[in-house]
Symmetry: C2
Subunit: 203 residues, 2 copies
Amino acid sequence: MRKISDSTIRRLSVYLRFLEQAKSPTISSGELARLGGTTSAQVRKDLSFFGSFGKRGLGYSVPELTRRIRDILGLERGYRVVLVGAGRMGGALVQYHGFRQRGFHITAIYDQDSRKIGSRWNGLVVRDVKHLETDLKKDPSDIAIVATPAESAQHVVDRLVRSGVKAILNFAPVPLNVPPDVEVKTVNMALELETLSYSLANR
Amino acid sequence: MRKISDSTIRRLSVYLRFLEQAKSPTISSGELARLGGTTSAQVRKDLSFFGSFGKRGLGYSVPELTRRIRDILGLERGYRVVLVGAGRMGGALVQYHGFRQRGFHITAIYDQDSRKIGSRWNGLVVRDVKHLETDLKKDPSDIAIVATPAESAQHVVDRLVRSGVKAILNFAPVPLNVPPDVEVKTVNMALELETLSYSLANR
DNA sequence: CCCCCATTGTGAAATAGTTCACAATGCGGA
DNA sequence: TCCGCATTGTGAACTATTTCACAATGGGGG
Ligand SMILES: NC(=O)c1ccc[n+]([C@@H]2O[C@H](COP(=O)([O-])OP(=O)(O)OC[C@H]3O[C@@H](n4cnc5c(N)ncnc54)[C@H](O)[C@@H]3O)[C@@H](O)[C@H]2O)c1
Ligand SMILES: NC(=O)c1ccc[n+]([C@@H]2O[C@H](COP(=O)([O-])OP(=O)(O)OC[C@H]3O[C@@H](n4cnc5c(N)ncnc54)[C@H](O)[C@@H]3O)[C@@H](O)[C@H]2O)c1
């Protein structure tokens, strides 16, 4: 498969959200573009990397395109997700329904702090992080969310990688080192605020 | 000023974080690159858009480069930030110290829910969102964080824009329409998980 | 049955971003 | 003082992404 850019994948994800809300049976690239804040040529180009799903003169069948994009993104299967770090951010994430709706199921929560271990969070008992490796050996997980302080993030990630986790969503504001077969996405909110600061300073 | 790419600004922000932690008095582009996960040429190119801050043969003075980047990003001043939406995500954000450390001060919290209005959050009383416009007229704010459900986000943003807010950090998973002089950054975590899903599905 | 038209799919052109490669240069040591 | 060397700053080359523009075509109406 030829290399598809990250921006294309992100846009597919945006199109998918609108397709799931669409009420008409078909939709044109122009309409999808308007909703997703891009251009119709961009929509068609993005889709063209994966095949040709539309009908000329008509547009795209909403149910079919929905299915195709879900398939491209690998969303037809569900994912087991473990969360490490039962702090404030972890708490917000565990209770968030948007993830589950899209097929990402948080199946375990780990922390280091004895005051948190054993407490029940949204139906899950917070486990001691020392069980991370043995638990993952029993019940493997493809995806982990890291919501520990920055200092522990790399150490936690090393342990996750050794336990076979192949994709990590990281909330700690540090770049993480992982082997090339592991994918990391870091959500760095302070950095987003700083790009806003830059745009305020330069107008 | 010529157009600087978003990726350059984000990298500057990453370099800044390492400069603030550096212990040696100087640092080379190669070292910054290693820490920030990029290349030395990229570091030098990024900086060259704004001037020449290094010494050939030596590298960059850590305190000077720190100051320069803070200045470029507009971080020398502090920012007043209002938060709209006192839910789980809003709660995590209010308590987060990382923002304040970098000069972003949450000065007011708004919600619609009468059960939340009046409660004290980290020293701030949650206010009824109906006061948003009058409060902002009295105490303007450059930056707002939107952490309401997706359905209300556009409406809240319209009100913020009318009240003179010029930069918005949005956590609701919808693209927002704003006039061209207002900058919006959307943090879309479900979308990040979906890019991870794509990478798991395609290996 | 055939024409019209909206809209796709896609090479080619344009633009944006990254990497290369090397001359310029400041510093430390002889 | 002068040499050697590490490292910057930057055009130029390269690579990636977006936009353009138009031929191809499916469907609906006459
Ligand atoms: N709260 C926010 O709004 C926010 C915003 C941006 C970024 N972040 C980042 O998200 C991360 C978590 O933030 P938070 O506010 O939830 O912090 P927090 O201190 O509330 O929670 C961190 C949790 O991680 C646990 N922990 C520490 N070391 C651990 C380890 N080795 N293994 C397992 N658990 C461990 C702690 O016991 C704690 O419960 C931090 O890196 C922070 O910088 C948070
Ligand atoms: N919690 C998470 O981990 C998470 C993750 C990703 C995205 N998000 C997004 O962040 C946003 C907030 O999520 P949450 O989990 O905190 O939801 P939440 O329901 O806990 O909180 C939302 C808050 O917004 C308030 N609100 C609703 N309409 C309002 C209005 N018009 N003006 C002011 N306040 C209003 C509600 O009263 C509530 O207190 C949502 O858009 C959600 O999709 C949350």
